[in-house]
């Protein structure tokens, strides 16, 4: 038996409270990614075949560095939110579910840090 009131149960879990934080973050990162992905793909298409010097020069341009960091953050945040839902849906062994979600989150952070560090290193060289 729970001693929590019906109001207490609903608060923080129901509509428009923290209960939708995950859902909302996935939508907001999606909205941010629409222009960022179009910009990134178009830039890469225009750079196919470029040598490392030209690529570094592009990455190091201040506006490009900033947009790339935003793109990386939005991408990995969006990806780990999505993979979390997939694992929650399909992995039914509790410890394996928790372990795999934790692994996805650690990997997302590690990859995002590696990408951002590389961008900053190129920008400041």
């Amino acid at each position: 038996m729970s001693l929590r009131s019906p109001l207490g149960k609903v608060r923080g879990l129901g509509s428009a409270k923290e209960g939708v934080a995950h859902w909302w973050a996935q939508r907001m990162t999606a909205v941010a990614l629409v222009p960022l992905v179009i910009w990134f793909v178009a830039s890469v298409c225009a750079m196919v075949g470029s040598d490392i010097g030209a690529v570094r020069e592009w990455i190091g341009t201040p506006l490009v560095s900033i947009l790339l960091v935003l793109f990386v953050i939005a991408t990995f945040h969006h990806a780990q939110l999505g993979l979390q839902v997939v694992l929650e849906d399909y992995v039914h062994t509790e410890w394996l579910k928790i372990a795999s979600i934790a692994l996805v989150k650690f990997a997302a952070i590690a990859l995002a840090v590696a990408a951002i560090f590389s961008i900053v290193k190129i920008a400041l060289r």
Binding site: A30, V41, V48, I52, L68, L83, S118, I122
Partner: protein, 131 residues
């Protein structure tokens, strides 16, 4: 409370796929594939920061047939996930939800993803001077 006759969610072995369900699971599938594809993005950035040898490895991988095949798959996955993601955002706003509209904008998403993939590859090859 156990009952033998409770309705089940769609059973994969007897479930006839429709456009809407196929596109729905494709959104998941492409999302997972794109997550794996971020490894390539990070590899590219780390190699560009590391130096000429590391970058030459990335370029060699992209130039190989397996690299190009992966890039083709990932580029289609990206455009599909982008277009269908927009479809989801319209749905979240309550638009395009009835069955006819869901089929119409479903085919629109498939067509747009194919067209965008072709445009990107033609653009990429022409940047390389290969066209």
């Amino acid at each position: 409370m156990a009952s033998e006759n409770r309705p089940l969610s769609p059973h994969l072995q007897v479930y006839r796929p429709q456009l809407t369900s196929v596109l729905s699971i494709m959104h998941r599938g492409t999302g997972i594939a794109l997550s794996a594809g971020t490894l390539l993005l990070v590899w590219w950035l780390v190699a560009a920061a590391s130096g000429g040898d590391a970058y030459a490895d990335v370029k060699a991988f992209w130039g190989s047939w397996i690299g190009r095949l992966l890039l083709l798959g990932w580029s289609f996955a990206l455009f599909y996930h982008l277009c269908n993601g927009l479809r989801h955002l319209f749905w979240d706003a309550g638009k395009g939800f009835d069955l006819d509209a869901a089929y119409r904008n479903g085919w629109l998403v498939v067509g747009a993803a194919i067209v965008l993939t072709v445009v990107a590859w033609v653009w990429g090859y022409s940047s390389m001077g290969a066209l």
